[in-house]
């Protein structure tokens, strides 16, 4: 039963995963954490960090990792397979059409008007993760290290364009020495 749920969850993400890796991440979060409640938000955050730091596409890494946590070896294979299966099928049908019509007004307008919603989708993923467990020292003894890490990371990745992997390593080191 759990395999069927895992397969279905990732199949849906594969079919409707518009807008790239982070949009898919928010869909994975919803299915795995909110809907099936297979793991907590802080376990999910750990998996996101590890998937970012490991070679290969982040969403495949996430599918494999969450699949393994939920259903062991076969769970991980099933989750990754379910994620790419729709691409394999859809692709042959849609690709020829899109290649011919990529400058078509309807195609372009449809895709660009989806962007505000995808922005909201990704924003919600971040919002959901701003909880007491991910900001573990918030409000304790006036210590706000986690807030400082979050703000500095945002400045680093958004304005200074620092490689996210370096920021994850730096935050891990801060955590190791401070907590």
């Amino acid at each position: 039963m759990i395999y069927l749920q895992l397969f279905w969850a990732y199949l849906k993400i594969g079919i409707f995963g518009f807008g790239g890796g982070y949009a898919m991440l928010s869909m994975i979060q919803f299915e795995i954490v909110e809907h099936y409640q297979w793991m907590s938000l802080e376990e999910f955050a750990d998996i996101v960090a590890i998937s970012q730091m490991t070679p290969g596409p982040v969403s495949i890494n996430m599918a494999t990792f969450t699949g393994y946590t939920v259903g062991g070896f076969w769970g991980s294979i099933l989750a990754s397979f379910a994620l790419v299966l729709p691409s394999l099928l859809l692709f042959l049908i849609v690709l020829k059409f899109l290649f011919k019509n990529k400058d078509n007004y309807i195609v372009k307008t449809t895709l660009s008007s989806m962007k505000p919603v995808i922005a909201g989708l990704i924003f919600t993923a971040a919002l959901l993760m701003m909880n007491a467990n991910n900001f573990s020292d918030f409000g304790l003894h006036g210590s706000n290290i986690s807030i400082i890490i979050c703000v500095l990371t945002f400045v680093g990745v958004f304005w200074a364009k620092i490689n996210p992997i370096l920021l994850i390593i730096a935050s891990g080191l801060v955590g190791y020495f401070v907590y």
Binding site: A49, F91, L98, F158, I168, G175
Partner: protein
């Protein structure tokens, strides 16, 4: 058959050695597919990237599927796709086994306490970039706000929101095309 193996190993190599996924990877794919293997011209490569970004699913996988299909049909597509995902699966499985054993370790727990707020910021950043890229104004701001409320408070699945958005966006596209045509003399 040789080309099928080449497709597999080209994407296997890319999957095994590119960190950060997505866009960091494109540069490496371009070098392999355009410069080294000469499977397609530069123009076609970037056309392909434009198109695979429109499609749902993993950009790296879609790129592998397209390249493989173009060179060797269905067999090529499957070989390239497997090449792109197998390194991820193997590496993550090894790490997952270790991580589940060690995550209770106090030192590991301290490291991840530092990392979790960092991850929140790493997700916040592409969200803000997407807001800017989508040129959200006072009128369209209702869309992301409604999305946030529906998921965060009402726990509506993003899948339904995406379906509604696709339908709405296609409708809007036809509507604005009609208006455009009518306004022409």
């Amino acid at each position: 058959m040789r080309t099928v193996f080449q497709l597999f190993f080209t994407f296997f190599y890319i999957g095994a050695f590119t960190l950060g996924g997505g866009y960091a990877m494109l540069d490496m794919v371009e070098r392999a597919v355009v410069d080294k293997r000469r499977w397609m011209e530069k123009d076609e490569f970037w056309d392909m990237i434009t198109i695979v970004q429109m499609l749902p699913g993993v950009v790296a996988v879609n790129t592998a599927l397209y390249t493989g299909y173009k060179i060797k049909g269905i067999r090529g597509a499957i070989a390239a796709c497997l090449g792109a995902i197998i390194p991820s699966i193997v590496i993550i499985l090894l790490i997952a086994v270790l991580f589940l054993d060690y995550k209770e370790n106090p030192a590991v727990e301290r490291v991840f306490r530092g990392i979790r707020p960092c991850v929140v910021a790493l997700i916040l950043s592409p969200a803000i970039k997407m807001f800017i890229n989508a040129k959200v104004n006072w009128k369209t701001a209702i869309l992301p706000i409604a999305t946030v409320c529906l998921i965060y408070f009402l726990k509506v699945s993003p899948v339904y929101i995406i379906i509604a958005t696709i339908v709405g966006s296609i409708g809007f596209a036809f509507y604005s095309q009609n208006k455009l045509n009518k306004s022409k003399p």
